[in-house]
Symmetry: C2
Subunit: 357 residues, 2 copies
Amino acid sequence: MDIKASGELKAGVNLPASGTVSTINDVARLAGVSIKTVSRVMNNEPNVRAETRTKVQEAANLLHYRPNLLARSLAGARSFLIGIFYDNPNPSYINSVQNGVIRRCRENGYHLLIEPQDAHSPDLERNIAGLLATIRLDGVILTPPLCDMAVVLHAVEAAGVPYVRISPFLNPGRSPTVRMDEARAAYEMTQHLIEMGHRDIGFVLGHPEHGGAHLRYQGFTKALSEAGITPRPDWVKQGFFSYESGVDAGKAFFEAGKSRPTAIFSSNDYMAFGIMGVAQQMGIRIPEDVSICGFDDAPGSILIWPHVTTIRQPVEDIAYAAAEVLLARDEGEDGEKRDTDRLLPFELIKRNSVRAI
Amino acid sequence: MDIKASGELKAGVNLPASGTVSTINDVARLAGVSIKTVSRVMNNEPNVRAETRTKVQEAANLLHYRPNLLARSLAGARSFLIGIFYDNPNPSYINSVQNGVIRRCRENGYHLLIEPQDAHSPDLERNIAGLLATIRLDGVILTPPLCDMAVVLHAVEAAGVPYVRISPFLNPGRSPTVRMDEARAAYEMTQHLIEMGHRDIGFVLGHPEHGGAHLRYQGFTKALSEAGITPRPDWVKQGFFSYESGVDAGKAFFEAGKSRPTAIFSSNDYMAFGIMGVAQQMGIRIPEDVSICGFDDAPGSILIWPHVTTIRQPVEDIAYAAAEVLLARDEGEDGEKRDTDRLLPFELIKRNSVRAI
DNA sequence: GCTTTTTTTGACAGCGCTGGCAAGACAAAC
DNA sequence: GTTTGTCTTGCCAGCGCTGTCAAAAAAAGC
């Protein structure tokens, strides 16, 4: 490394042993400037002479200097920490959210703290409030069902921490949100079934605590009524997004001696899998006897035959966008990405579980 | 709240507005003691008079005081932050690990930072070293395949951060580890197949970068040789833990005109699913024509028929135990839980994919 | 009673960094 | 030339807490 190239680093300063952490002081001494100037360079602040900047950067490189995040947080206004709160049993969903958020965080040197919470705990609000008092997070991301809980919103707002909600159902406009248009997706899926000739369509509701469940049902009924089809109440079954609840719904649909729909729209894939499992056991063929479609594009779908027609949610992209809203102020992009309700596109994936009749 | 009950809190001190964060100073003033004493109480240090302790606790409660984690970290020796590094595409595995670690962390007020890494990045070592220099973590948890990579171990050791490896393959004794006995599990699974009358047993190897893959194969061959069975090299197929590689292996096994084993032991469930998918397409019945067993008890197994015989790994418990080793010094339990190689029990789950012949 | 030991408490420095402000350097304007 | 304005840089305080050490208080010993 050619030090002389720009300015002169102080001679005779000991270089660090491997594994030693060097502080801003070491860099300042080596570069022959004040620590404040080093701080300016490390934070990309303006008003530093190009020559000085280079000199500091070289010293920092030489010492393998990395600013101490904790000290920065304590002294400054930012903690470089984003938190994500969730209570969701679906590992693949959570994993996608985490990956999306982390991908965006890394671009700005932020780190991610994960904080699973029990949505039914009576201490939920206290837990969140305590957590936010303990760690001054720069932003919080809320996923369903927490993002629709009054106590959660209240705790985060009281702490004054910026937050973004992913796929909320209630309180639009109360915070920035990122989501896809679930009602629209369900609407289009239903239209697809209708186009395929189905008019006797059953529906399995999702977990009532998840806002998305309601939106999906809304989209379904809207498409039905626009097509002049009157939904049959006994063909709408309550589910809870789980495989087992899908099994129950399937049993109810396929009960002997009853008429059954020609297609069933399940609010998510897991329940669709449950229905398909029951169908197989009862000798009901899919899609020959009943068409099935789901929602979410769950990863298990390649395991079962036929592959289910479903809606793909861009979960990771949504999470990335959510983190983006939180980090936007770093870039100074005020109006553009903040205080928004961002809608990301979904995808209707046609596979083999729906047939034309 | 009866303040007078023990000591007298200072009168005339303003209570905080909702959402305001109070500092150790506020508590000290209200309780009429020095901040150092408050610090002692908050950290459960000895040598505080019971009466004083109560007085401080009441003041802290009244003010909803929560110590600032960042300030504690900077001033003290601990950061209350644990990091987990991973590069694993399996969401359910990662999720279990996270949940186990968090469960243990919460007991001591620690928080979890997740740091997915690209195992094949040329910057891996630099990334980890930089990260550890930026945030002084109190401990790091390494999962496969990172836990077997020299550069990763080197980076963590150079930073002087305590770490625990989950299910490592190489370098036993280099750090505390937590795992289950994968070789033993594979051994017992193979014995089970042999007991069921199988002597012609195929094997699908796992990803060569994952140590567990080798251990599973070792257990397999050991059981075979103990039973006096000579393994056929052409019945050992290379897989990569993915569904697709299982499909490939299945095709190879079931190629027309060739003799095939009566049972196939797949190094994990996803590959077993792939094999079963191929079998179904080719009209090969399971378990009538071929018995199949897997490893890991992947969540998708309830979706496919027959349910696969497999090994259940107590992933969450392993992760919990790993965090425990890291936090053990908080409890002062030196010899007991540190510097150990903890082995957790597995479970052989017999389902319908293996039949006696 | 007094002295010695132990327990309890507080003063103070400082962790590594940033924010505010003022001083110094330099260029532009008069 | 001097004055004004702008750009660079450094000084200092302090973020909220813990570690060290010494002082004060209480308990124990004689």
